[in-house]
């Protein structure tokens, strides 16, 4: 049974595309067949985050308009045998695709894939409506900031109104040092305000910038965000993985403790 998951947030710049790329890659690493669809027509980005921008021939709009077959537009990620990308069109706008067309396209993909991830554009207009039309479930990405949380709450309301009931939350860019001194809302604060199930916590990590520079998702690497996304991918696939103790990545002291622990485990 395949699952169609929309990754959305309302506000821009909170990590939708990064999360889509990393969860998709993480699922492929776990052995699932996954396809990532960039639904942000006119502002495509998932291709660059995945490092596949030079391999685009056809795009989502070409498929919908019948300029090519679906198979031809799918880009196979050579690093992972079960990972594919359907890129968005850069020179068109959101009105080039309708919710009905998205549903048709996704139902075709269901036959071949375990997971279909839809990277949703920011906002609540046509692009959002297209992206959620075919979704079975949603992952809402937010950061611990008032603006992102407010938009996430609005998105959660709209998802429920459009019969996407299965909603889970990623709190991204958490800085445990700021949470400790009372200058950032904790994950618990955010989750209780939004009243949805938490599926992951991603610490603020400069490695994300580095991995995006290189076009290689860092999921599974030994970095705070890499571990976090690996855990999220496993949870998305239905595994029960305990949440990360962010303190590990916190201050100098905890880092030293962590190194000692690691060494002890090694011994």
């Amino acid at each position: 049974m395949s699952q169609v998951i929309v990754v959305t947030s309302g506000k821009g710049g909170v990590g939708k595309t990064t999360s889509t790329a990393n969860i998709g890659t993480g699922l492929a690493k776990l052995g699932y067949k996954a396809v990532l669809i960039d639904t942000d027509i006119g502002l495509r980005n998932l291709d660059v985050v995945m490092g596949l921008e030079n391999r685009i021939v056809y795009n989502l709009v070409d498929v919908v308009e019948g300029n090519c077959r679906l198979r031809q537009a799918l880009i196979k990620d050579k690093r992972y045998p079960s990972l594919y990308l359907l890129p968005s069109a850069q020179t068109r706008d959101k009105s080039a695709v309708s919710p009905q067309q998205m549903r048709k396209l996704v139902s075709e993909l269901r036959e071949d894939f375990d997971f279909i991830l839809l990277d949703c554009p920011a906002g609540i207009e046509q692009g959002f409506k297209n992206a959620i039309a075919a979704a079975d479930r949603a992952i809402v990405v937010t950061t611990p900031e008032v603006s992102a949380i407010r938009d996430a709450d609005r998105i959660i309301g709209l998802l429920a109104a459009n019969e996407v009931e299965d909603i889970s939350l990623i709190v991204n860019r958490v800085r445990i040092d700021m949470v400790r001194r009372g200058d950032m809302m904790s994950v618990e604060d955010v989750a209780s305000l939004l009243a949805v199930d938490l599926i992951g916590v991603v610490p603020d990590d400069e490695n994300i910038v580095i991995s995006t520079n290189q076009g290689e998702p860092l999921v599974g690497s030994d970095t705070p965000a890499g571990i976090a996304y690996q855990n999220i991918s496993a949870r998305v696939s239905g595994e029960n993985v305990p949440f990360l103790d962010l303190g590990r990545f916190g201050g100098l002291f905890s880092r030293v403790v962590h190194i000692f622990r690691k060494n002890r485990e090694a011994v």
Binding site: E145, V146, I149, R150, D153, R154, G157, V179, R181, G182, D183, M184, M185, S186, D189, L193
Partner: protein, 88 residues
């Protein structure tokens, strides 16, 4: 005194949480303009049975008020009365 202030200090996280709590309640409670207009017209009809009201000056909105379980959404209506009909 300063030390006491330090311990009692409201952190910026608390400020953010409090602001969001209010904001989300009003965001979630917000109705469509059409629905607000319909409520307004119904209120005018009902109240007009008993008194003469200033329909132009009538104002209704959804806000929050402190309830038993924290802030709850309330419908606030400000209805200026022109004349109270004695026949009612």
């Amino acid at each position: 005194m300063k030390l006491l202030d330090f311990f009692k200090r409201k952190t910026s996280k608390d400020v953010a949480k409090d602001r969001l709590k209010l904001l989300l309640v009003s965001d979630r409670a917000s109705c469509s303009p059409e629905m607000m207009e319909a409520i307004k017209n119904d209120i005018i009809q009902v109240i007009s049975k008993y008194m003469v009201i200033d329909t132009e000056g009538l104002d209704i909105q959804i806000t929050t008020a402190e309830g038993e379980n924290g802030d709850t959404p309330v419908l606030f209506a400000n209805i200026p009365i022109r004349d109270i009909k004695l026949s009612a």
